[in-house]
């Protein structure tokens, strides 16, 4: 156990811990009565989306292009981190009439 060997790892972890949150934001998207709100959201790669389901029904936030598929259990909040840039239309697989838009900058 020579501490020296772990220094680069420690440094990387520390750097990561400091560097990432400085840029990343947390954005809330809620579902109430089968509506995603806000209907249009702009975000950046690395941002966290807090998906807040206020309905008693299960929903999903499913990207049409396959970039993400988040399960939203009833009356629960789940989070996901955006990993890919693009303008993504997403919908609920259980209720395809629920649709919204997420614009993710690099």
């Amino acid at each position: 156990m020579r501490p020296g060997r772990y220094l680069p790892v420690m440094a990387a972890l520390l750097f990561g811990m400091i560097a990432v949150p400085a840029h990343a934001a947390t954005i809330q998207i809620t579902t109430t009565d089968l509506v995603f709100a806000p209907a249009e959201v702009s975000a950046k790669v690395g941002d966290t989306i807090e998906w807040i389901n206020k309905d008693v029904f299960a929903h999903t936030a499913t990207a049409r292009n396959g970039d993400f598929d988040v399960n939203m259990p009833p009356k629960k909040t789940v989070t996901s981190v955006l990993t890919k840039a693009g303008t993504v239309e997403y919908y609920c697989r259980y209720h395809p009439n629920m649709k919204a838009m997420l614009t993710i900058a690099p």
Partner: protein
């Protein structure tokens, strides 16, 4: 297929037909009963599908129907309790239940892919008929604001189910 489709529509068209003719609007206790019955019918159809369906997407759809319709009906029960309303049985509910029982028996005779297709076709037709009844009769007739609002949420849920059923049906072909 057309015969099955027309059965569901015929039952719901009672709302505009003789049962409620002469300008008689359904009362809130009747509306609550019809909406609850419509949910119970779809849950029974879904439970049959969970047993019988061969396709995994059809089975998953049926599970979604049980989950959502149970959630809606739980809200409906909570609401009538809160409003101290006793749901009142009526001709529309009775006809709906009778025709749904016939449908279940009919579907029970089918197997495999034939069953899957028939179940989904009926789900599309049934949700379409229920949505039509909600839009043109039940929602406009509801006098209590909370009941009206629950029916409006129900309409959005069922419109979602109709689209979902159409998508699953399209994939089967």
């Amino acid at each position: 297929m057309l015969i099955r489709l027309s059965a569901a529509i015929a039952a719901l068209s009672l709302l505009t037909g003789p049962a409620l003719a002469q300008g008689a609007k359904p009362t809130d206790p009747q509306i609550a009963h019809i909406a609850y019955t419509a949910g119970v019918i779809d849950i029974a159809a879904a439970k049959q599908a969970i047993d019988k369906a061969g396709d995994k997407d059809v089975k998953a759809f049926a599970q979604d129907m049980v989950r959502d319709h149970e959630a809606v009906n739980k809200q409906a029960l909570d609401l009538v309790k809160k409003l101290k309303v006793t749901p009142e049985d009526n001709d529309t509910s009775k006809t709906l239940s009778k025709q749904a029982a016939d449908k279940l028996a009919e579907l029970a005779k089918l197997k495999g892919a034939e069953y899957d297709k028939a179940y989904l076709a009926n789900e599309v037709a049934y949700h379409k008929a229920v949505n039509g009844a909600l839009e043109t009769q039940l929602i406009p007739s509801a006098s209590n604001a909370e009941l009206k609002s629950l029916l409006q949420t129900g309409l959005k849920i069922f419109q979602g189910h109709q689209q979902h059923a159409e998508q699953v049906a399209a994939k089967l072909k």
